[in-house]
C-alpha cells in the first residue's frame, strides 16, 4: 500500500475542463476551442464509446423537410406538452429555435443523414412530435453524431482528451469551481486538474436501477459532484422509463429497442392480440409520449395481459423485410443475434426500461451555468429542457444546442480567471483522496458489486413506474442505510491500483447513492402525478404544481428539497402551446 501515499498527483492545467465525451461534452469542447480556449476532455471510457452512441432514432429539429407545416413554435409546444409544462420554457424556446442549425452544422462537419427524394435531410415521425421531425441515419443516429463530433474535436487545435479517467471531486478556489481530482482507471494514478471553468457533460444515472438501457458508466457522477460542490439540482424525481426495452433473454433485459420501430409503423399488442394503446391514447396510439406508453405496457402486464416474459409485443412484420432492414438495421441484427428473433417475421417482446434522467443540475437557460460560479452543465446531467418527460429525439438536439452554449460560456468565463494567482481552497484535496483510496485499505470490506445490486433492488422496488409514499419512504430508509454501509465498502478482494473495477465500483456507488437519495426525496415532495412521476396515492395532476420545480441542495442538515416557483411563460410562448396544429397526413411514403 506504499503506492497510496496521498499527495502524489500530477497537476494538469487547462482553461476549460470538460467532464464527459458524449455528444454534449464533445460539442462543448469544440465550441470552447473555437472561442479560443484550451480544452481538456476527460472521459471514463475510450473516446467514442459514450452513451450517445446508443441513441438510435434521431435528432429532433424543426427543419420542415418532410412536413412543411413544422416550425420552431410547434417543436416548442410539443416539448412543453411532453414535459407536462414544468420545463424551463426559456430552454425549450432556445432548443426549438437552434436545433435546425446545429443539425445542418453537423452535416457540414461530415455527418451523413438519410435523405428525402429531393436530397434534403429526411425526418421520421416519433412519439409526441406533431410532425415528422427526427433527422436520422437508419437506427444509428447517435453513432453518427458522436463520430462526427469526435473527429471534429480531435482535429481541432486546443482540444486534448484524457481517456479512461474518472473525476471524483470538484475543487474550488474563492467560491468558484477551479479544478477537479481524478484517477486513471488503468493504474490508479492521480491527476489534479486546474481550470478556469468546468463543464459537466457526464450523462445520467440509470445504473442505479437493475433494468436499464444505460451502461456501467451512467452512475450519476456529474449530479453527485455538482451537489457536493454546492450546486442545486432540479427535477430529480423525473426519470424516464423508455417503453420498449428488450425483455428476453435475461442477459439482454433492458437493452433499448428504438422508438424508431414505432416511428416506422410498429404496433404494440398484448398477449390477446389487442392493440391496447387504443385504450390509453386513441389519437396518438403507439406514438404517444414515452411516459404514457411505458405506463400502458406496465398496466397491461399487471392486468395479466403481458407476453410470456412479462412485456408487450412490438410488431413491425407488416412492413416489407427490405424496408425494415434498411430503416432499422441494428434492431434487425440485435434481435436476430441476441434473441434469435427475426423481426421481419416475428414480433419483438418489449417492456419498459430505465433510460434517461430529465432532472439534474439546475442551469441557466442561455449559458448552462450552474448555481456555483465556474461550473457549467449540458446534456443529460443538466435539467430543465425536458421537464417531466423527454420526447424521443430531443436528447440529441439538447446535446448539440446546449453543449455549444455551455462550451462558449465556459470559455468566456475561463478567460477572466488567473489560474496561477488563485490558490485552491484549503482542505479539499487530502480528504477526497483519502476517501477514494479507503476501499483499497479494506479490500475484504463489503463487496461493492453486492452493494450495487442492493441499491438497484431498492430503486427497482421503491421507485418504480408508479410510486407511492410508503414505498418511497421505505426506499429512502434503505438508501440512507446503504450510505452508512459504503463507509465499510471494500473492493471485492484486491488492493491493486491497476485497472481494478471493484475499486472503481466502490467509488461509483457514492455517486449513485446521492442520485438515489435525491430522486426519492424529490419524489416524496411532488404529491401529484405528472409525466414520468406517477403516484398511486396522488393519481391526478395538481394544476397548482405546474408552476413548481423541486430543487435539491446540500445543507448543513444534509440533503434538502424545496419547492421553487417558476416565472410564467410570456404570452407568445403560452399561445404557441395552446394553439392547435394541423394534423400531419403523409403525402408520400419514401
Amino acid at each position: 500500500m506504499d503506492r497510496l501515499s496521498s499527495g502524489t498527483y500530477e497537476t494538469v492545467e487547462t482553461e476549460v475542463l470538460v467532464l464527459g465525451a458524449g455528444g454534449a461534452g464533445l460539442r462543448a469542447a469544440v465550441a470552447a476551442a473555437e472561442a479560443g480556449a484550451s480544452v481538456l476532455v476527460v472521459c471514463k471510457s475510450l473516446l467514442g464509446k459514450a452513451h450517445t452512441v446508443m441513441a438510435e432514432g434521431g435528432v429532433a429539429a424543426a427543419m420542415h423537410n418532410v412536413a412543411y407545416q413544422d416550425s420552431w413554435e410547434v417543436h416548442f409546444a410539443d416539448t412543453m406538452k411532453g414535459g407536462k409544462l414544468i420545463n424551463d420554457w426559456q430552454m425549450a424556446e432556445i432548443h426549438a429555435k437552434e436545433s435546425p442549425d446545429r443539425v445542418l452544422e453537423l452535416e457540414r462537419w461530415g455527418a451523413v443523414f438519410d435523405r428525402t427524394w429531393q436530397g434534403r435531410i429526411h425526418q421520421r415521425p416519433f412519439g409526441a412530435h406533431t410532425y415528422p421531425r427526427l433527422a436520422h441515419v437508419g437506427d444509428r443516429t447517435g453513432l453518427e453524431l458522436i463520430r462526427t463530433l469526435q473527429d471534429r474535436a480531435v482535429h481541432q487545435s486546443g482540444v486534448e482528451v484524457h481517456m479512461e479517467v474518472t473525476v471524483f471531486k470538484l475543487l474550488k478556489a474563492e467560491g468558484r469551481v477551479a479544478g477537479a481530482l481524478a484517477y486513471r482507471r488503468s493504474d490508479g494514478s492521480l491527476i489534479l486538474y486546474r481550470c478556469g471553468a468546468l463543464v459537466l457533460a457526464s450523462g445520467g444515472a440509470g445504473k442505479m436501477y437493475r433494468v436499464t438501457s444505460n451502461s456501467w458508466e451512467s452512475t450519476g457522477d456529474g449530479t453527485a459532484l455538482a451537489y457536493d460542490a454546492g450546486a442545486q439540482l432540479r427535477d430529480m424525481e423525473m426519470v424516464q422509463f423508455h417503453p420498449t426495452g428488450m425483455v428476453w433473454p435475461a442477459g439482454v433485459r433492458g437493452i433499448l429497442v428504438t422508438e424508431g420501430v414505432r416511428g416506422e409503423g410498429g404496433v404494440l399488442r398484448n398477449k390477446e392480440g389487442e392493440r391496447f394503446m387504443e385504450r390509453y391514447d386513441r389519437d396518438r396510439m403507439e406514438l404517444s409520449s414515452r411516459d404514457v406508453v411505458a405506463r400502458a405496457i406496465n398496466t397491461e402486464v399487471l392486468a395479466g395481459r403481458g407476453t410470456p416474459h412479462g412485456g408487450a409485443f412490438l410488431d413491425i412484420t407488416h412492413r416489407k423485410p427490405d424496408f425494415i432492414k434498411s430503416k432499422l438495421p441494428s434492431m434487425y441484427e440485435q434481435f436476430l443475434k441476441l434473441a434469435n428473433v427475426d423481426i421481419t417475421k416475428q414480433p419483438m417482446e418489449v417492456a419498459p426500461t430505465i433510460h434517461y434522467a430529465m432532472g439534474g443540475v439546475r442551469v441557466d437557460a442561455e449559458t448552462g451555468a450552474s448555481t456555483v460560479p465556474g461550473l457549467y452543465a449540458a446534456g443529460e446531467v443538466a435539467s430543465g429542457l425536458h421537464g417531466a418527460n423527454r420526447l424521443g429525439g430531443n436528447s440529441l438536439s439538447d446535446l448539440l444546442v446546449f453543449g455549444k452554449r455551455a462550451g462558449e460560456a465556459a470559455a468566456a468565463a475561463a478567460k477572466g480567471t488567473h489560474l496561477a494567482e488563485t490558490a485552491l481552497d484549503a482542505d479539499q484535496v487530502e480528504p477526497a483522496i483519502a476517501d477514494l483510496m479507503a476501499p483499497l485499505a479494506r479490500p475484504a470490506g463489503e463487496n461493492p458489486y453486492t452493494l450495487q445490486a442492493e441499491l438497484q433492488d431498492v430503486m427497482t422496488v421503491h421507485a418504480p413506474i408508479v410510486r407511492d409514499e410508503p414505498g418511497l419512504r421505505a426506499g429512502l430508509e434503505k438508501i440512507l442505510e446503504l450510505q452508512v454501509r459504503i463507509a465499510r465498502c471494500g473492493t471485492g478482494g484486491s488492493d491493486t491500483l491497476a485497472f481494478n473495477p471493484g475499486w472503481h465500483t466502490a467509488h461509483d456507488l457514492r455517486s449513485m447513492l446521492v442520485n438515489a437519495e435525491a430522486l426519492l426525496r424529490a419524489a416524496l415532495e411532488r404529491k401529484e402525478s405528472r409525466g414520468a412521476h406517477a403516484r398511486s396515492d396522488f393519481p391526478k395532476t395538481d394544476d397548482q404544481l405546474t408552476a413548481v420545480n423541486y430543487v435539491v441542495e446540500k445543507t448543513a442538515n444534509g440533503m434538502q428539497v424545496k419547492a421553487e416557483p417558476r416565472p410564467p411563460m410570456p404570452d407568445y410562448l403560452a399561445e404557441a402551446v395552446q394553439r392547435s396544429y394541423a394534423r400531419y397526413t403523409p403525402e408520400e411514403i419514401e
Binding site: 471510457s45 461530415g110 429531393q118 436530397g119 480531435v154 439482454v252 437493452i255 443475434k337 473495477p501 475499486w503
Partner: protein, 254 residues
C-alpha cells in the same frame, strides 16, 4: 442441449505475463460471453479488468478473442460453444491488464488522417446541402464502423508483422474510404494512402471483413476501390507513358 455450468477460461495477467484461469459460471438462457465475464467479475474476481459499455454491439468496447477468434463479447452467445470456452485479450495490442489492451495507437492514427473537407463554395453556401440517398449510401456503410478494432487485431500486417508504423490498418482504410467517397469531400488523400497509410501492405486476404461485427465489406468496398484509385494514379502504364511524353494528368504528389 441445456448446460447448467460453463467452464470459462479467462486470460488473467498484465504486460509481464499471465495465464488462463478457469471459472465455473452458472448458465442462464440466452447468455452471451460478456454476461459470463461480468458474472465472474461480480462474484469471483472483482478486479477482473474488462472494457464494456452498451452491451448491444453498438459501441465496440468489449472486443476480445474468444477461443482465439476476434469477436465482440456482447454479441457472442455462449450456446455457440457448448460447455466451455476461453477468452483472451486482443493480441495485436499490448496488454494493460486481463482483457484490456492499449488501443491508443488507433487514436493517434485517426489524427493523422485529414478530416472531412468540403469545397469553399459548399462551406460558405447558406443553403442546406442536397445529396441523393444513393450517393450517400456508399459512405454510410463505412460510417457504420463502431471502432471495435477487431479488424486491426486480425490483420496479419499489424498482428503478425507488427508494421504499425507502415500500415494504418483496415479500420483506417474504411475511414479514408468514408471521406474519399463522401459526395461533398474535395480533399485528395491518395498521397496519404500511398505514403503513411501504407495501403500497399494490404494483400486482400479479407480476414478483416470476416471479423467485422457490422458486416462492413472492408476489403471489397473500401480497400479494393481505394487500391484501384491508386493504381490509376500511380501505376497505370498508359498514363505513365503519357506523363513521360509530357501529356496527361500528373501524379498526385506524396
Amino acid at each position: 442441449m441445456e448446460i447448467s455450468n460453463l467452464d470459462l477460461k479467462i486470460w488473467r495477467g498484465d504486460s509481464r505475463g499471465g495465464e488462463l484461469v478457469s471459472y465455473r459460471v452458472p448458465v442462464r438462457e440466452g447468455m452471451v460471453v460478456l454476461d459470463a465475464v461480468l458474472w465472474v467479475q461480480a462474484n469471483m474476481a472483482a478486479d477482473l479488468a474488462v472494457r464494456w459499455n452498451c452491451k448491444a454491439a453498438k459501441c465496440g468496447s468489449c472486443s476480445a478473442e474468444i477461443d482465439g477468434f476476434p469477436r465482440l463479447m456482447c454479441k457472442t452467445p455462449i450456446a455457440e460453444y457448448g460447455g466451455k470456452l476461453s477468452v483472451g485479450p486482443m493480441k495485436a495490442f499490448a496488454v494493460i491488464k486481463d482483457l484490456v489492451t492499449d488501443v491508443s495507437w488507433n487514436y493517434e492514427v485517426n489524427k493523422e488522417i485529414p478530416p472531412f473537407t468540403p469545397s469553399e463554395k459548399d462551406l460558405t453556401s447558406s443553403e442546406p446541402w442536397r445529396m441523393q440517398q444513393k450517393d450517400v449510401e456508399r459512405v454510410m456503410e463505412f460510417r457504420k464502423c463502431i471502432e471495435c478494432f477487431l479488424c486491426q487485431d486480425v490483420c496479419h500486417v499489424l498482428r503478425a508483422h507488427d508494421l504499425k508504423g507502415a500500415f494504418q490498418g483496415p479500420r483506417f482504410m474504411v475511414r479514408i474510404a468514408s471521406l474519399e467517397m463522401h459526395p461533398k469531400d474535395v480533399l485528395d488523400r491518395r498521397p496519404l494512402l500511398k505514403g503513411k497509410a501504407g495501403i500497399g501492405y494490404c494483400n486482400v486476404t479479407k480476414c478483416c471483413t470476416e471479423v467485422c461485427p457490422e458486416h462492413i465489406h472492408i476489403t471489397d468496398n473500401a480497400i479494393i476501390p481505394l487500391k484501384e484509385r491508386m493504381d490509376d494514379s500511380y501505376f497505370d502504364p498508359v498514363r505513365s507513358l503519357l506523363r513521360r511524353l509530357g501529356m496527361g494528368p500528373a501524379k498526385p504528389s506524396v
